[in-house]
Symmetry: C2
Subunit: 333 residues, 2 copies
């Protein structure tokens, strides 16, 4: 195989076929994919979850992951957030002419390793190669299908008294990418939290805890999720500021750059809403999973401040957690 | 709304929410999409077809269509080729900072118009904005789910005696893009065939004709499809050269540029294999549809020349229709 991707690898002719068979099938192989038809034929539950994300992250290799791992975990997580077991993925690559074959193989391998954590399979794909300069290195889209096993999770379900939990420290992914991009010294300490959350969600579902709402706080961070919930459910949310888990090195970076950790992206965390009384059981389950070992109860749903998120400090002062706005960080995922 | 897309439109904060609600929902609106959850919840048949394509075409507006129309028709067609009724699509946009809002609206509108031809719906999406220079204008991924209503279509089904049909003139899309890109005079005459083929496929299925194999000859053209069939089914294919419908202006362009029309991409044609004896009935149905008005029976499956496609001229001479290879035309779809 050549050591760089050429335009001919995307032409739809013999070289494309070879790339698909020799590289993609080597790592993604399964009988459905290998049929190589226009579409994969699948047997599923009749009630499914369906979601898509494109990944444009820069740099493509970062501490804690790479664009490949992220492209699997990201879509697996959006499926899991709806109470669905991740079953099938599509993957679509847009590759810049001249991209090193070795890097592509690293990415594809990393995708295949991440898929092992949840039994999800790539069953259909697409490969485009564009001339140098038409794309920066590589973009990957994954679109996924999950079988809903826990029904009724929704951003519109929040009611007064409900309790809000987070599965661990926030801002790690955003801080990691920012540190690496700005070449900040701290870089070496901050690692992305990039991970597939399905094993944790499965534990929660199996425990019988009632799940009202659940989201992965990716772009826009914790703040985007809470503000969207407050809006969609037309309720208020009160968060105890000191309960939000934030790693020292992430907090340090935020102070250095004048940012709030709760607007930074996460790629391996979930925010959860349970009815009052279920929070200790939920927390217990979460703490037992390696994916939730730093989980915390961070707040509750209130009836005033409708549509707003309130941050309560340990001194009892209150301020509004504004929804994220402005440029934030491009190419974070 | 601003007249250009800004990085903030992809940040995941308030501007992203506004763009999604004010632009995408305006044209794609339906109750499933508007729930705005992490994943769409769908009720489907238990047997589905699942397929993905990313669209990177340049220029984004061309005679006969644009990247938006193409992104719908392309995925609808891969679903239809498996005997499935197109039901649900995801769409994922990667947009270059500074892209004109007006052009984006044109594209989104064109997607919504193309969807009306088949009742397919966009139920989930993603929007990324990348800094100027990270992508050339706009790329769109669509991934689709269809309900299989005609089971068993496969590239491995071809047997000696089967008859091969094509639904109209070949090479139109490839020739159109090439002419437009090279600024060739003929440009004005050649229009892309970009179209959703489901209405034609539905007619075929409803007629009761037995469909053994079916493909849309996109990148790599007719030659790629026939050669892949010959390979996968381990049979030979004999095509009567003068039966292949080619428009004069496309043939003219091919002669000018030294190309073969059967390696050029199509975006609104299908190639069909039926058992011997069913070909006249199939042709009848196809000719009655506006999508198949120039359909032709072009050849048959033979037992010798296994793995090869033979072109028979009107003088009886034979040559091999080589599988496409080399650079072909980048960014054709
Ligand atoms: N990166 C990939 N990983 C896994 N499978 C892939 C990948 N790229 C393509 N495939 C598979 O290879 C086969 C051919 O893909 P291809 O994109 O050429 O088909 P198509 O979508 O019908 O054509 P076009 O993209 O020109 O419209 C399909 O079955 C597809 O699922
Ligand atoms: N271009 C679009 N067209 C239609 N719907 C869209 C589009 N972009 C996003 N959406 C919808 O808006 C909602 C929010 O999308 P968003 O991409 O922010 O969610 P997410 O995938 O959970 O976050 P992230 O992309 O940061 O991982 C989803 O319900 C999604 O389906
Ligand atoms: Mg196809
Ligand atoms: Mg997501
Ligand atoms: Mg494809
Ligand atoms: Mg999400
Ligand atoms: Mg296709
Ligand atoms: Mg998204």
């Amino acid at each position: 195989m050549e050591n760089r991707i050429l335009l001919s690898h995307g032409g739809g002719g013999e070289e494309t076929q070879k790339l698909i068979k020799n590289l993609f099938f080597k790592y993604f192989s399964n009988p459905i994919l290998e049929k190589m038809e226009d579409a994969a034929v699948l047997n599923t539950n009749s009630k499914i979850a369906f979601t898509t994300d494109s990944f444009t992250i820069s740099p493509i290799f970062f501490k804690g992951g790479d664009i490949g791992k992220l492209s699997i975990a990201g879509t697996v997580n959006d499926i899991a957030m709806m109470g669905a077991k991740p079953r099938f993925l599509s993957c679509s690559f847009i590759i810049e002419e001249g991209f090193p074959f070795e890097d592509l193989e690293k990415i594809v391998k990393s995708m295949s390793e991440e898929m092992k954590k949840t039994e999800v399979k790539i069953v259909t794909g697409d490969t485009k190669v564009v001339p140098k300069g038409s794309v920066d290195k590589i973009f990957i889209n994954t679109t996924g299908i999950g079988e809903i096993i826990y029904d009724g999770i929704s951003a519109s379900n929040l009611e007064e008294g409900d309790i809000i939990l987070v599965s661990g420290s926030i801002g790690d992914h955003g801080a990691c990418i920012m540190a690496q991009r700005e070449d900040i010294e701290m870089e070496s300490e901050i690692s992305s939290d990039c991970a597939s959350l399905w094993p944790l969600v499965k534990d929660l579902i199996n425990s019988g805890v009632k799940i009202k709402a659940m989201r992965d706080p990716t772009r826009g961070g914790l703040s985007a999720v809470l503000n969207e919930w407050a809006n969609q459910s037309k309720i208020g949310i009160e968060i105890e500021e000191e309960k939000i888990p934030i790693k020292d090195e992430v907090q340090g970076l935020c102070e250095l750059l004048g940012l709030e950790a709760y607007t930074l992206a996460n790629e391996g965390k979930l925010v959860l809403v349970v009815p009052k009384g279920e929070e200790e059981k939920a927390l217990d389950i979460m703490l037992k999973s390696p994916l939730g070992k730093d989980s915390q109860i961070i707040g509750k749903v209130i009836s005033d401040y409708k549509g707003k998120v309130i941050l309560k400090s340990s001194y009892g002062t209150r301020r509004i957690m504004e929804p994220p706005a402005g440029e934030l960080l491009p190419r974070i995922c």
